[in-house]
């Protein structure tokens, strides 16, 4: 069952893990400081990533001659810490891509310039780094280009513009790395890439999206699945390639758009740019699911003119253990001091970041060198200070005016994003990101009770957690304000259905369809209710109607497949599942159902392959492992089957059926004692299982424990007096 979700986005991004080379201490006092020995290593490590031909910096610093010419300026900008760009205060978070020069480096640079910039022995200099003119990681698997070149005017204030790049493939891919080629890197301050799951932004701008759309921040519709934004996809000149950690690629589905949100700075001449995004595919889906959390206080952003220290704050209590992986503070031109910290359950304060002198032009995502562990009960804090006086030279208004929250550069923002990865998740517990979502949305509603997006997301998350009555209350509250909101009706209907009230669900979905007859979500949901009630022909009819409106919907093909299989037409069903797989090769339902069809049609080896793929997509799904074990057993691979069941048992130790299956497999391979153990466990969990007692009796009899066997058969007969096998078994054991 689907549910719907809207996500208010500000900016996503992912700083790439810049390799920070170990700093080698250099003894400065003994010999003259030379380019070759001391300065070139500093420059190559900290400056050359931008200052190379074609890089984001205005000039190259790859040679001694380059550096010598620029020596007075190098001295100036390093001593003032204007270069390299680095905002966070040392000691307030340990970041992987730290670019701050050490005091020792600064002293060396000063000494070198003051002693006349000697070159030293060129043979001692390290080789200059090499930068590829195009893609740093080689040719990408997929290159997306903006629809039309954009021309930035020669002068004026900075420009914030959003370019939409539709994902053109008909298959889902996981992205392990991304590189942006902005074409004119010198004018790009930074860029964010957002994933628009539903192409909502493109639909908001049907006439002009190809030219790019102005604006700093966007509101996107995150679509029908709980699929929270998970990655910082952030570009700045010194980090052209974003490489995701192992196991954490991000996903692109057919119909998604990438939105390239760029901060551009006029150069003095008109600049025509055609940005490209290069994507590198991962071979496997993600095994770790991080999530972006946001602290914010836009509502309190109402800054009178002339005020120097306007404070806004927010906090959020974590409901689960997480590792914080990265952080992205964001304000506009009035931001002055940006702080984020965590108060741990024992009361200690752990700093997440502190920026003592904010500058929007130098904003960045910061990744922690090591994950920052934050146990459940930790309170995240944000505290931002704003300066709306004339003394703030970044102030876009002269004289200052009252400033509120908004997405133009003359408006303000107070956002702190944190990328977290839930850890210590007990087996069998619900998706911990849902608990984070509930905590986050509840916090938003505390701040702003009429926040309909938060209300919607909260209701959806509660429904996904199986807390249906809470979800229904939340949905009804939204409908009382917006009675014609089809999306809310879909959520409410889904909650009714999951709560076991299909009639109420059908009523709500039908009402939604009367408001919007082409609504694919409502029709899909209605069809789902019909499938669950085994009304397969009705479901087939709904889904065929829906596919006329939404032909590229993999879930609809899957649903149609399920309906057709229900009607007994496995061939037609398989064809629909294949269509879904063609659109989304990792579609779990299609893989699982095709596996089932293969088992049913006596092709266990094919079933193994399909169910293995399904299990890779959802490694924690016990049912899939169980079916896979069955297919393996039928393929003559009892040991592999046992391994799958053992893994499943580990995931769900209280699942009686698994213990029974294990018992059967063990018995078939002659391991009777272990088989008895497993069956005993199953019956401890499910003591009313007459078949189970009968099976246990058979095992006991085979090991010669005839008395125990008789007791088991009698127990089976007590539970089910008509149990013929138990009766026959007992008769066979009874002394004549």
């Amino acid at each position: 069952m689907r549910f719907l979700r809207v996500f208010f986005f500000v900016a996503a991004a992912c700083a790439f893990l810049a390799a920070v080379l170990a700093h080698r201490p250099i003894r400065a006092a003994e010999s003259p400081v030379t380019w070759s020995r001391q300065i070139a290593p500093i420059v190559y490590r900290n400056c050359a990533t931008c200052h190379h031909p074609g890089g984001g910096g205005p000039f190259s610093l790859l040679s001694y001659q380059d550096a010598r010419r620029r020596a007075p300026q190098i001295l100036d900008v390093t001593q003032s810490r204007y270069m390299p760009p680095w905002l966070p205060e040392p000691g307030y978070g340990d970041f992987a891509d730290q670019r701050r020069l050490s005091n020792e480096d600064l002293a060396l640079i000063r000494k070198w310039v003051e002693s006349g910039t000697p070159e030293g022995n060129p043979a001692e200099a390290p080789p200059a780094p090499h930068y590829d003119a195009t893609w740093q990681m080689g040719k990408p698997d997929l290159i997306l280009s903006v629809e039309r070149p954009y021309t930035l005017a020669a002068s004026g204030t900075d420009v914030f513009r959003n370019f939409i790049l539709p994902y053109p493939l008909a298959q889902t891919h996981y992205i392990r790395a991304m590189e942006i080629l902005p074409a004119v890197p010198q004018i790009v301050h930074h860029a964010n890439v957002l994933i628009d799951r539903t192409a909502s932004f493109r639909r908001q701008h049907p006439g002009d999206w190809k030219n790019g759309v102005p604006g700093m921040e966007l509101e996107l519709d995150a679509g029908n699945t709980f699929d929270p934004d998970s990655h910082f996809l952030f570009w700045k000149p010194d980090t052209p390639v974003l490489v995701e950690p192992e196991g954490m690629p991000w996903r692109l589905d057919p119909g998604n758009d990438l939105i390239l949100n760029m901060h551009l700075k006029p150069s003095g001449k008109p600049e025509t740019m055609s940005a490209q995004i290069g994507l590198y595919f991962a071979s496997q889906p993600a095994t770790k699911q991080p999530m972006l959390l946001q602290l914010e206080d836009d509502r309190d952003l109402d800054i009178p003119p002339g005020v120097h220290n306007f404070v806004v704050q927010d906090q959020l209590t974590l409901p689960v253990d997480v590792d914080a992986l990265g952080i992205y503070p964001h304000a506009h031109y009035l931001g002055k001091i940006l702080e984020g910290w965590a108060t741990l359950p024992d009361g200690r304060r752990k700093w997440l970041i502190r920026i003592p002198s904010w500058d929007i032009d130098r904003q960045s995502v910061y990744r922690y060198r090591e994950p920052v562990y934050l146990p459940r009960g930790t309170v995240l804090h944000m505290r931002y200070v704003y300066d709306n006086s004339d003394d703030n030279i970044h102030n876009p208004n002269s004289p200052p005016i009252r400033v509120r929250a908004g997405n133009r550069s003359v408006d303000e923002m107070a956002h702190l994003w944190l990328q977290v990865l839930p850890v210590n998740v007990p087996p069998g517990s619900p998706d911990p990101r849902l608990l984070l979502e509930v905590a986050w949305m509840r916090r938003r509603l505390e701040k702003q009770p009429d926040d309909s997006i938060a209300g919607y997301n909260l209701a959806s998350a509660l429904a996904s957690l199986g807390r249906y009555s809470e979800a229904e209350t939340a949905y009804e509250k939204l409908l009382s304000r917006r009675p014609d909101d089809v999306r809310v009706m879909n959520g409410l209907g889904a909650a009714f259905e999951d709560a076991g009230d299909p009639e109420a669900a059908e009523r709500v979905f039908t009402q939604a369809l009367s408001i919007d007859p082409h609504g694919c979500d409502a029709r899909f949901n209605l069809a789902s209710v019909e499938v669950r009630q085994s009304h397969f022909q009705d479901a087939e009819h709904q889904l065929r109607t829906m596919l006329q409106d939404c032909p590229a919907d993999a879930a609809a093909h899957c649903g149609l497949g399920v309906a057709l299989a229900g009607e007994g037409d496995n061939a037609a069903a398989a064809s629909e599942f294949q269509s879904a797989l063609h659109m989304d090769p990792h579609n779990f339902t299609a893989l699982y159902q095709l596996g089932e069809i293969a088992i049913a049609s006596g092709q266990p080896q094919q079933a193994v392959s399909l169910l293995e793929d399904a299990s890779r997509t959802r490694p924690g799904d016990v049912d899939t492992r169980e079916r896979l074990a069955m297919a393996l057993a039928q393929s003559g691979r009892p040991d592999d089957a046992l391994a799958q069941l053992r893994e499943a048992e580990h995931l769900a130790p209280d699942n009686a059926n698994l213990h029974s299956l294990l018992s059967q497999l063990l018995a078939e391979s002659g391991q009777l004692r272990q088989a008895i153990e497993e069956q005993t466990r199953a019956l401890a969990l499910q003591p009313d299982d007459a078949d189970g007692w009968n099976n246990l009796g058979v095992l006991e009899a085979r090991t010669g424990s005839l008395d125990a066997a008789r007791t088991d058969f009698r127990r089976a007969l007590q539970l089910a007096p008509g149990h013929q096998q138990a009766r026959a078994n007992l008769d066979r054991l009874s002394p004549h």
Binding site: P58, F59, Q65, R68, R69, R70, P72, Q73, D76, V77, S80, Y82, M83, A154, S155, G156, T157, D158, Q186, K265, P266, S267, G268, K269, Y333, D359, D361, R362, I393, H394, N395, P396, S398, S409
Partner: protein, 191 residues
């Protein structure tokens, strides 16, 4: 020719050493010997560097001022003092930025020394005074940049324009409100 140039120029530098050599060269390599045509009321030197981003960002502003004040007898010069800004580099740069004005390659940095300029972008205003040119303003164009990394979204005080207006109005020329911000001019003594 040299003699005639001296006679017409008459100006600028208090020492006589300049007289034997041109002040600067133009994009064809021909000497630039006179900055102010007869009747000019002021000369503005804009010290620029092809590879300095802040200098480049001011090009539209200088062009605006050139268009606005050349009818009043203000002569603008685009002066390139850095050794790497050779004829070819500047020609291609000016084509890219569509610069139409008078170009001076300050190959010996005579103009740089005459104006006491140290930064690109930086401007100097001279007014004819008898046979000489007298410097009445040197420094920043406006207050958009306060230092490297300290930048306003847009300028709120236009120092150069205020100075030009004062010159044209015959009023005392105000001092710039802050230092020029940009890239150091590279001394010619370096290779």
């Amino acid at each position: 020719m040299v003699l005639r140039a001296i006679v017409v120029l008459l100006c600028c530098v208090p020492t006589a050493a300049w007289a034997a050599q041109p002040l600067a060269t133009d994009l064809k390599g021909d000497p630039v010997n006179r900055l102010a045509a007869a009747g000019a009321r002021a000369v503005v030197l804009f010290f620029a560097a092809s590879d300095c981003p802040i200098s480049n960002r001011y090009i539209p502003e200088i062009e605006r001022l050139d268009r606005a004040y050349s009818p009043d007898g203000v002569r603008f010069w685009w002066v390139y003092p850095n050794p790497t800004d050779t004829q070819g580099v500047v020609r291609s740069h000016d084509a890219q930025f569509d610069i139409q004005g008078n170009i001076a390659l300050d190959t010996e940095q005579r103009l740089t020394h005459m104006a006491h300029a140290t930064i690109t972008p930086e401007v100097a205003i001279f007014v004819p005074s008898g046979d000489q040119l007298r410097e009445v303003y040197r420094g920043r164009i406006d207050n958009r940049y306060l230092s490297l990394g300290q930048e306003r979204p847009q300028a709120t005080r236009h120092d150069l324009e205020d100075a030009i207006r004062a010159v044209l109005a015959g009023k005392p020329v105000p001092e710039p409100g802050g230092p020029p911000v940009g890239c150091s001019i590279v001394p010619r003594s370096l290779p």
